[in-house]
Amino acid sequence: MELEVRKLTNEEMEFLLSGADPAFANALRRAMLREVPIMAIDEVEFTVNDSAMYDEVLAHRLALIPLRTPDGYSLPSECKCGEGRCPKCSVTFELKREGPAMVMSGDLKSSDEEVRPVSDSIPILKLAEGQRVELTAIARLGFGKEHAKWQPGLVTYKYMPVFELDEEACDACGACIKSCPRNLLQLVEDKLKITYIERCSMCRACAEACPKKAIRISGDQTKFIFRIESTGTLPPERILLGALDALEDKCREFVKKVKKL
């Protein structure tokens, strides 16, 4: 198995995984979506809410705010406190505003500077003249499999496209070139060539447009182009590492159970 990183920024990562199979690629993708813990607001205690928005709706909006997640927090289920309320497994946010105001994510005062909204300019709630809101929100680690607010980002992959051309049948008529929605085909010295094969969406428009049936498009089931798009809670490489840790733990536990038989 080989890994080739094509692009890596704070929020995005693209890599080519070769020598794998679809089952492994999908296990990796699902582990990244479901098994990597991140912080999200999980409980909200309202002291005052005069706004036009119901408590539940406001709590839901708060939960959707992506929070930067540093290392070192423990899962509420594994924490010694047993309640999910101690500083080792939870972070509290205080919010107190009086209208007229637009309450922004930056107004949330965190008990840990490192756990804060990814962006300070997310509008949460609009308060009219004289309306007040006062609340305490508790953020905890959680998993994407429980709620989408704990999903660290978006992970997709596709098979590496394979373009096969029957050169004897091809008469360079150019019908396929016009049909390609991404303009990836061109004639070089009367020979058909595909540029940037990775951009091919495998729509097979070229194969269908060819009067001689000279083109075959397929996907290489051992090569995968992965894309991780983080919501900003964790850097993309940490999402990948977190998923691998989760898969490793699952395998270890399984091995232990099998050995007991």
Partner: protein, 63 residues
């Protein structure tokens, strides 16, 4: 209120509405602004284009 995330893919949109609305009001083409904001998928783009903020209307009635 405007949605915080894209309904379909979960991308953060809340912090992008201000710029989007300001620039479109100035006369820029919405498609260009969406490109500049880095919204490539049509789920996020449609959420940005079609969300209507009814907070002021609702605030007139008693909860």
């Amino acid at each position: 209120m405007k949605p915080i995330r894209c309904f379909t893919c979960g991308k953060l949109l809340g912090d992008k509405f201000e710029e989007f609305e300001r620039r479109v009001a100035k006369g820029e083409r919405p498609a260009r602004v969406l490109d500049d904001l880095g919204l490539t998928r049509y789920c996020c783009r449609s959420t940005m284009l079609t969300s209507v903020d009814l907070m002021d209307e609702i605030a007139r009635f008693k909860k």
